[in-house]
């Protein structure tokens, strides 16, 4: 009887683990979660790079324009939402004359990282086009919480 209970409990625990793994493991395709962690850049790292006297990366905002107009990373360029065909076309045009060795940083920050529809398509397009030094700014919650609220520098524009 006790052995049976033990087996039953073990079985239940196994199912619990599978369920937890499923719930955590499932990520919608096309979201930022699909980007390899080695390609991510933390906000503090980008701030350090921008403040250093060294060569600066190209920084592209691939999210909504209204948020870029409110605040964006100094020196960054608005390209267009990576989830839209027009945004990807604008990105393709922008990098036409850029060397494949150029360091490029993409960011959005429109919504929580796992729900962002913009950075992953933009990242994939650049990688497919042969750009080997593409980083994506990791904004866990959004640009406001993970950049502006931390007091990192911003520019505003229309």
């Amino acid at each position: 009887m006790r052995l049976s209970t033990t087996f039953r409990m073990t079985g239940l625990l196994a199912w619990l683990c599978v369920s937890l793994g499923y719930a955590y493991g499932q990520q919608p395709n096309g979201t930022a979660s699909a980007i390899p962690s080695a390609q991510l850049l933390q906000p503090e790292e980008l701030v350090q790079i921008l403040r250093s006297g060294g060569e600066k990366p190209l920084v592209f905002q691939v999210g909504p324009h209204v948020m870029f107009a409110e605040a964006h990373v100094p020196g960054s360029e608005y390209v267009g939402p990576g989830r839209e065909t027009a945004g990807l076309a604008a990105l393709r045009d922008r990098v036409k004359t850029v060397s494949h060795d150029q360091v490029i940083v993409l960011y959005c920050g429109c919504c929580p990282w796992t729900k962002c529809p913009n950075v992953q398509p933009a990242y994939e397009q650049l990688r497919s086009a042969g750009f080997g030094h593409v980083k994506v700014l990791y904004l866990a919650t959004n640009f406001g919480a993970d950049w502006v609220s931390k007091g990192f520098p911003v520019e505003k524009s229309r």
Binding site: H65, V66, C111
Partner: protein, 170 residues
């Protein structure tokens, strides 16, 4: 059947762990709450909507966009609340932060929203302290003061409790 229950329990547990949708309410006391900046914009039917015209009502002001998955998940509930709490004085007002109005109209129809939506921009965003990530939801009391603010995904049960707290009556 038991396995299904355990599976469901696992999912529920996982969602309760860190990494689940964060909720970051700011809950100023009534005395400290600042008055919500007034604005006037046309809604999708080109009817002028002025926030201050809602004085005396409890306003749920929701900044959203069509590309924001968490926004789209909560908006059908807002429509339910508009119907459920409208007679007690709740007014829901959506502000889309989309760059274009066309997808907003499509989404409005698809979700069968029953409350007005106006288009936002960086000016309106700046008036509200920066809308630099969505969704952002504010609850404004009958005197026009911001009583609750949620940046990011919000626990809908929390939001509904706050609405009931602000509404008059039982």
């Amino acid at each position: 059947m038991r396995f299904v229950a355990i599976f469901a329990m696992g999912i529920a547990l996982a969602r309760a762990l860190p990494g689940s949708p964060p909720s970051s309410p700011r809950t100023p006391t009534p005395a400290a709450a600042r008055v919500a900046p007034d604005f006037s914009r046309p809604d999708l039917d080109r009817q002028e909507i002025r926030l201050s015209a809602y004085r005396g009502k409890i306003v749920l002001l929701n900044f959203w966009a069509t590309w924001c998955a968490p926004c789209l998940a909560e908006m059908p509930r807002f429509a339910e609340w508009q119907q459920k709490y409208g007679p007690r004085g709740l007014r829901i007002l959506g502000v889309s932060m989309d760059d274009d109005v066309a997808p907003v109209r499509t989404t409005y129809r698809r979700l069968k929203l029953n409350y007005p939506v106006v288009m936002g921009d960086e000016t309106l965003g700046a008036m509200y302290g920066g809308i630099l990530g969505l969704p952002v939801t504010l609850l404004i009391d009958g005197e026009g003061r911001i009583r609750f603010r949620h940046d990011g995904e919000t626990g809908l049960e929390v939001l509904e409790r706050e609405i009931r707290e602000l509404l008059p009556g039982p």
